[in-house]
């Protein structure tokens, strides 16, 4: 059938990561109960403390109701109709040697363009790739180990570095923090763990790649990054998923802890499958991300480029506890077709002279719905706190929307807080100018959108910045009319 072929090629053009890798996987039946949690814990051969932690979170979760306050709309999720664990069957479940990994899996990552093996060494990026629920391979381990850096999958960390895990896990996002965080705490299957010892500057970018492959599964990964005194780490996270006509839930938790003088840079390029043009399928990305500047003069920055997901609902936040600590949030959120985003940040100023910057760029096209929701809270103790927020929205077409809900709470006089926001569309003059210089209308829009996001994109590491630009272009295709 010629027609369906044409349709297929058109679709795969707009979402090039929408392939499914046919490899056998070990997926447990759908449903959630204590038995499932025990099963997940047993499959991962976790120590006792982890199981009881999970069970406590699960019991807490049972008493919670799903939050409904946000501006995103989605049909009720049936939590009993999700499989909470899916792992690709490999020869040896514990393998970290690339040779043992299923070649099909490697091919998958190849298609995604993540340089997992050789190319990677050249790029100087250490990758922990998470395929469905299980961490597949962690590269560059030995090189990092020499510096005392621990970078491994969460399940390995639970077994090998249980003291660190026990000390820090859940200390920023407690298991009962919110509905999705509690769900994550009870069923999380894998994720990345990273510990940078005092005084170490991590020599390469650390990276995790998430991919949801199996159908009907949810992905609940948990990432924990600890930067000890005066250390530095830059961390990248990328995500993709195949095209499915059903919605899939992704409820991750990311915790960052920066000790005295430490700096963590966390960058995300999120490209989950956004659903088709009618809004069918796609990932629900309900993630809790929070960092704590625990020590004085510590720094945490979040940079995110959100182009995928049917629904993005997350607020990467920073708790500025240490004196003189700095929190930064840079975000580009693009919603096209029927995508929805309710995203923003929270900056909680607790320590003296803490500073935070928020820069949020929202782009809505098609029937996209984009909301910025942010909180800047300056407690009475946070003398001399400083915040500047800027949230700009760009509207393309008259069926999309942009909402801005900034919350500003200030409790002392020595602090300065500023917020500004604008909403507008691309003006005809701008387009005309570009077009008379020989650009097509689409190129002109793409150029203007890229310029609009420039300030955020340049915060990303080089390779990611290029990818992010391309993603913006691809995702805007067909939205200019």
């Amino acid at each position: 059938m010629l027609d369906s072929n044409a349709v297929n090629s058109a679709i795969s053009q707009s979402y090039k990561h929408g392939f499914v890798t046919a490899i056998p996987s070990d997926t447990i039946p759908t449903g959630l109960n204590e038995g499932v949690i025990r099963l997940i814990s047993a499959k991962k051969r976790e120590p006792e403390f982890m199981l009881s932690w999970r069970l406590a979170a699960y019991r807490h979760w049972q008493g919670m109701t799903e939050p409904r306050w946000s501006s995103v709309r989605y049909p009720t999720i049936d939590y009993q109709n999700i499989s909470y664990y899916s792992s690709p069957l490999t020869n040896n479940p514990d393998s970290i040697d690339l040779k043992d990994v299923d070649p099909k899996l490697l091919a998958t990552y190849e298609k995604l363009g993540i340089p997992l093996s050789e190319r990677l060494s050249l790029a100087g990026v250490a990758v922990d790739a998470v395929f469905d629920s299980v961490s597949v391979a962690t590269t560059h381990k030995k090189k990092l180990a020499k510096l005392g850096i621990v970078f491994c999958s969460m399940s390995e960390a639970v077994r090998e570095h249980s003291a660190l895990v026990q000390r820090f896990l859940g200390s920023v996002v407690p298991p009962g923090d919110n509905f999705f965080a509690a769900l994550n705490a009870s069923v999380f299957s894998d994720g990345s763990f990273c510990y940078i010892p005092p005084g170490v500057r991590c020599p390469m970018e650390l990276s995790t790649y998430f991919r949801i492959n199996a159908a009907g599964t949810g992905q609940f990964e948990r990432t924990l990054i600890i930067a000890d005194k005066n250390s530095y780490v830059s961390y990248l996270e990328g995500c993709t998923a195949p095209q499915r006509d059903r919605h899939q839930l992704h409820a991750a938790v990311v915790e960052l802890i920066a000790m005295e003088g430490a700096e963590i840079k966390y960058s995300t390029v999120q490209n989950w499958y956004p659903g088709d043009a009618e809004g069918n399928g796609g990932i629900y990305n309900f993630v809790t991300k929070r960092g704590e500047c625990r020590g004085d003069r510590s720094r945490i920055s979040w940079t995110q480029v959100e182009t995928g997901s049917a629904i993005t609902w997350k607020y990467p936040s920073v708790i500025l506890r240490g004196e003189g600590s700095v929190g930064r949030f840079h975000s580009v959120a693009l919603t096209n077709n029927h995508q929805q985003a309710d995203t923003g940040t929270k900056m909680i100023h607790i320590g003296h002279n803490t500073r935070s910057t928020i820069l949020s760029k929202g782009i809505s096209a098609g029937f996209g719905h984009n909301a910025y929701r942010g909180l800047v809270k300056v407690l009475a103790a946070a003398r001399g706190a400083r915040n500047h927020s800027q949230c700009d929205s760009l509207l393309l077409g008259n069926t999309c929307s942009a909402h801005t809900y900034p919350y500003i709470e200030v409790k002392n006089k020595s602090s300065k807080v500023e917020h500004e926001a604008t909403t507008s569309r691309i003006s005809e003059e701008q387009l005309f100018y570009c077009q008379q210089r020989g650009l097509s209308r689409e190129q002109a829009v793409s150029l203007i959108v890229n310029g609009f996001c420039q300030e955020v994109l340049r915060e990303l590491p080089m390779e990611f910045s290029v990818e992010a630009r391309k993603l913006l272009e691809v995702n805007l295709e067909g939205s200019v009319g």
Binding site: W69, T404, T423, S424
Partner: protein, 439 residues
Amino acid sequence: MNTPVTLYRDLFTELEKSLPGYDSLPLRGLRQEGMQHFMDKGFPSQRLENWKYTPVKAISQKIYHINNHACQGLDPSDLLPYLIAPLGVYRLVFVNGWFSQTLSDLHDLPDGVRVESMAKLVKDAPDMLEPYLKNKKSGSDQGFTHLNDALWSDGAYIHLSPGTRLERPLHLFFLTATSKKSMMTLPRNIVVAGADSHAWIVESFASLGHFPHMTNAHSTIILHDHAHVHHLLHLGENHSAQHVGTVESTQKGDSRLDSQLFSFGGERTRQEIHVQLAGEQAECSLDGLFIGNGRQHMDFHTSIHHTHANTRSQQLYKGILAGHAHGVFNGIITVPPHVHHTQSNQLSTNLLLSDTAEIDTKPQLEINSDAVQCSHGATVGSLDPEALFYLQSRGLDASTARNLLIQGFAEELLQRITPKLVQNWIEKHFNKGEYHHES
């Protein structure tokens, strides 16, 4: 159960017959309906997003007594400190919620302008009022408004025929003579500005004495094509007063509303202003200045709904907070799909003068159309130490320098008041503000 809600129901049953409009079946029905809504919803709770920062319990838990007759025995000279000017102003005075003929002054009203007491009007022409009383747009979390629907006592009805101009300001003055028996007054005002009409309306609230009391006010303003209304709201009740008020305005094509709010008094104040720009080229400007000290709580909620193309709005709210005062600003601008070429600006700037004062500000935009120009901003800060130093280096003492900077902060809003008569009056109130004594 003796909750405040059931006590108000009992009070309603007791008072119903004596409230204006009982003889008119539709109006009686509206009151009963209001009570029913109030019974269903009760007072809002702090868990509701729009009431998050408002200490609703402190406002609603106390039971107030409701007076069903005017207070007698006030002398016109008692009023003098509160008046804009003894002459040159039309004046409607309401004491304890009821119209006082003797204290009011409506001489020389131009033809085509009708100014009357609501209580009187419902007796004379209930049918005329019904549509205005009915068409309220309050949301589902407006327990206080429903209570006003059920129990409103009196207020002003102002009707400007097409083309009329009210040259002098019209002062609606609501005075509560407080006593040990805490009282709630529930004024209800209706302003209808016909096509091409023009008016200055000043609504002010004050108390005699220092006992606690509560005001639950509601005003509706309707502007027809090309009408222009200045609405100035002055909240200056005593420091144990609770004030909850709502202004709802609907604007037709080419009309203009200039709303100015000055809030200096009260213990806890919550004022809402809702505007619908329901006609092309309609325009509104909402300004506010609030000064809080001691333990005052001041809470301002505005919403502007651009339902028609080519409408414009601007907002400037400034807060000055000292002592343990708590200020809240929550403004929302909505543009529905397919409404084009709207312009809106919203700015909330705040000055914190002490480390125990708090401000929570939330300027919001809900834009569902692309052909818009919209911006908003918010700032929170304190007096600039360098500016203070500069002034002191020029020979001013610290407190003069400080006052000068505070005055400079407020000046922009004070300058916008017209006519001069009203401006002087507000400046007088501003200058005796209590922020002066605190450091």
